[in-house]
Assembly symmetry: C2
Amino acid sequence: MAPTPAWVKQLKPSGPQGSELLAAERASSDIPVKKLEQLLFTQEVIDRRQKILGILKAEPVFDKSQNYFSGRTERFERALAREKRLRLLKAKYNWSTDEFRTALDLIGEPGPYGLHDSMFVITINEQGTPEQHEEFLKLAQQYKIIGCYAQTELGHGSNVRGLETTATWDPTDKTFVLHSPHLTASKWWIGSLGRTANYACVMAQLIINGKSYGPHPFIAQIRDLKTHEPLENIHVGDIGPKFGYNTMDNGFLLFNKVKIPHGNMLARFSKVDPETGKYARQGSPSLIYGTLTWVRSSIVMQAGSILARGVTIATRYCAVRRQFQDRDAPAGEKGENPVLNYTMVQIRLLPLLAATFALHFTGKAMMDLYSENQKRMNEKSASRDSGKRGAGPEETEAGSDILADLHASSCGLKALSSTIAAEGLEVCRRACGGHGYSSFSGIGPWYADYLPTVTWEGDNYMLTQQVARYLLKSARSVLNNEKPINDTTRILSHFRSRSEIGCAFDIIGSDTDLVAAFAWRASFLTFEALKHRDTEKKPWNDLLVDFYRLAKAHSQYMVVKNFYEALQTPETKAGLDEGALEVLTKLFRLYALHTLEQEGSEFYASGACSKHQIMLARTNAVMKLLKDIRPHAVRLVDSWGFDDWLLDSSLGRADGKVYEDMFYRASELNPLNGITVDPYPESEVLFRKVETRSKL
Amino acid sequence: MAPTPAWVKQLKPSGPQGSELLAAERASSDIPVKKLEQLLFTQEVIDRRQKILGILKAEPVFDKSQNYFSGRTERFERALAREKRLRLLKAKYNWSTDEFRTALDLIGEPGPYGLHDSMFVITINEQGTPEQHEEFLKLAQQYKIIGCYAQTELGHGSNVRGLETTATWDPTDKTFVLHSPHLTASKWWIGSLGRTANYACVMAQLIINGKSYGPHPFIAQIRDLKTHEPLENIHVGDIGPKFGYNTMDNGFLLFNKVKIPHGNMLARFSKVDPETGKYARQGSPSLIYGTLTWVRSSIVMQAGSILARGVTIATRYCAVRRQFQDRDAPAGEKGENPVLNYTMVQIRLLPLLAATFALHFTGKAMMDLYSENQKRMNEKSASRDSGKRGAGPEETEAGSDILADLHASSCGLKALSSTIAAEGLEVCRRACGGHGYSSFSGIGPWYADYLPTVTWEGDNYMLTQQVARYLLKSARSVLNNEKPINDTTRILSHFRSRSEIGCAFDIIGSDTDLVAAFAWRASFLTFEALKHRDTEKKPWNDLLVDFYRLAKAHSQYMVVKNFYEALQTPETKAGLDEGALEVLTKLFRLYALHTLEQEGSEFYASGACSKHQIMLARTNAVMKLLKDIRPHAVRLVDSWGFDDWLLDSSLGRADGKVYEDMFYRASELNPLNGITVDPYPESEVLFRKVETRSKL
């Protein structure tokens, strides 16, 4: 590659430098960045992040400088090398689970061991017997075997009951025969399977004596432990390139009547008697129900931080990028305007900035509620049967009211929050103008890797049906005059008691009224949907669009409510001075009023607001809030505490040197500049490549 | 790579085959696919497409099978090879411009000669003198020199006046000195510049005797014509990887006081006298204004086809993909439901299907209007001065009323249509569930390549200011009781004359009323914005959000109006039977009512509809239209006539063999399956690669 000439190296960006502009932004606000960061994460987490960051930066294998340039194979190879190194570091430094997760977050790319650590090990742990833990779990924890979780198939995703892979009990030799009867039975999308895993936890239809007992988990070895070649009658490989996530080897897997021992069916919750061939359940695996709720709650909390990464990059760049003069600026003020001053940029970025906090606090509240409920259930269970394991089936009954509510909430909020984060990242990318399209913006690659979240752990559209089903059930209990047992039934009861009288919320003057308006609209839509289903007997399929809207409305209510409540806690009030708290409260209002205005016709139809109020929210309140929050934007994103190493973005650099960094990456790191082409169509060879140029 | 074993090769997808399902879809509708395709494109275009397709398919260099797997460098190299081959084919078959463009469309990737053919050649042609045509144009047309158009800089995109590159007149040797005074002056994003071009048309601030005359175009050689190495004091290269468009070498370019001859300033519209150093304009380059309008109109028309590609893929796949049983289905009907039967899928795909036609007809109407106006202006001009060239400055004055309206319309519609297409493609991708994320869906890569369109040729947000400015001006003329001179002033006048009385549109029962409701809302927002600006004297910056909404409303009106009008033409009525026309009319209604419902609060606020009408549109009319259009969906997408070779999509295959194709690409084409890894963290080497496996 040609070196950058000296006359280029001495050039600087014109006008005020990025570093000066960001310094001025930071000087114009008194948001206490460190305190806010502590409130979001705790000092313990911040210190942990710094410690791990220091270790990773010192290791050459984690150098990110070629990430954006590499092709698929190279990226996968490097990702695997990083995963390996990470496990050695984990052992060397004796990292806790939290420390290890922090390292994964900082590296910021899906890794080929991903599904081993999460799904393979966890499934054996949760669904295996003590004997199976002895046989498989130990080896897995020591990386002597590398596994994956093979559920999804080429023909079946969301509908798990429709899986086609079979595990047929063979009483003659006491084995299960794994088989893929059709092409669509091929396991597909299985993370870590394509090239890395030598074991798989396979979800297959259990068949005994011709009768199907539904999908069950089986442990199967798929590759030789020495040569790493596939075993006989197993066809396995990587499924090919994807929109993102290309550091992960999502794989396919087919079985041609492969026998596995009786002991390979994970048997904590159901087993086949090896002598009689009789099938028996032992309790329901309700724990998994809880695990899914936990996973979805963590997606909600992550969504805030995922989005914050894009908002940080776009906000900093829009404070550095200057374009055009203000049309109404006095003749004397000739300089170009930072684009963050334009209201059309503010209306795109600042509600997303507000959303980062809204999602973070909502996710945190859900995870706290989940932990608290688990604790209470464990205590109850322990007091009943102190000899039992902590997470047996009985516990769920004890806390089932809260768990059912939490389950429905987690479905709705997973869908809403991941949609906000994914679509918000794209808004951030576009707000960076042309440079947002460069990989060096750091937003595009991040967006592409995040995007599967809107589909997995429950497709965002499918999930809304579960929310609606729960809300309809809750509304029926209210119509039956049952006593409210949780927040959902409470707001529905309240709505019902007032539906004749109507409401008069002061959405602009009162924060509690603003929250109440969201509850009102969600309740209105719930009873409307119930009427369509129960009274008018409309087909379920005809109501899917209504259900989707209903689930969205209910989830938006929960986000608004949780954001508001998070600002009232003693913890928050002690952690921040009054000025900072006021800015956060304005972010809450911006989030709520901007959402309300976007969904104006539903609020209006429900009677929660008047047409005039919605107009006022749009033209006055939101615009005023943008103006008030604008000076604090850079400090607010600073409080998320993203290190430049994590962001890996020219545009989002904390020091504002955006143009220098863009130029450096293009001119010094870009391997395409190492080839010289023959540009003429009629040249003898179609394409002639001159290897690395020797001189400028 | 391991061969696919025989026992895998014999497997078929389970249940009804994709081919059977698509055949059944096609049998359930009587849409005359060929006739509709003729109406959209004409038989001439269809025949041309088929002819070129046959030629391209026969050439190995255009084989697409490795496109999705290749890394950046490899993709660029192959793209350049294709570009070269294409020019040889063009000469061999003596292709017309239309035939050549058809070939480019079918190949479907940005190519490294792209900006040579479009901007470099066109700019010299339009802005060069006959002498300059002699010197540069001929060589460029013969690909003896390869050029690009270097306008955008690292620090300046939309604001062309802010460009920093200078061209300083040196009277001592009668040259211009090209110079990049700052890092931000580096040309950036310049297509074809990174590796391919050896010439550039450089937009630079013309400076004579210390005075700046604004940006002007200069022709500069940048690389040696033999070695292809950069010339002295020029630093040029590729700017690095992007979200998409990676077959194109977008480049950077810096000058260190590089001298170019006097004759290299394109001098048709302005020149510097080489003797006196005096600057002179000769007419305004108003042609460029027209060219931009033409480019934007063509973006509108393309948007329909761009989106149709995604809608075709998603519709076919959703007809083949079956998941879950209908909840309300009788116990006997056990089969899984094609997901296209779910209303939640229909509400996402069918309005987009309607949008493909809406955008196509709108773009077509605009291009017709543009051509007609150009023709009229040329005739007027010719009758005035038969000795003059056809596109001099005077002509624009003659047709300026229409051209100004067309210019504003093209700005608003470019923004609206490219946003609909880009965001619609992502909706299509998600409607394909998990498989939408695979590159083999064909949607993701296509979306990624299309995305710059929302930013270039006028950033979609920036453009809305131009529309608003024009609408405010038109509204002022109406308030001044000037006579309406075009459709815009006509609808504004109508609104003004009726604003006291109000309106009573039957949006559900009458198609003309539906169009009128869109005109009413756009007019209402125009006069509201005018009040804010002229009466309340609000700052321009405070109104940007209102302007954005206004431009969107006006553009939506134009799309709805043009779609409606296209269905009333004799050409349409002659081309289609009554049944097909009725389905297209339903698509029009779906597009209009779905848009109206999405923007409900604005329609309501303007008084164009009642709350009850909006509710009815949502719950009754739209849902009914989905049901009516559903059976025709596959035939309607068939009528776009995309060949499988063009779509390059497993999910969108015309024969429905989606799973077979997904599997084939993963199992037989995927190069990642050629490497075998060592999966253990503690292995001596971090990563060990076993070259191509020899046996299964």
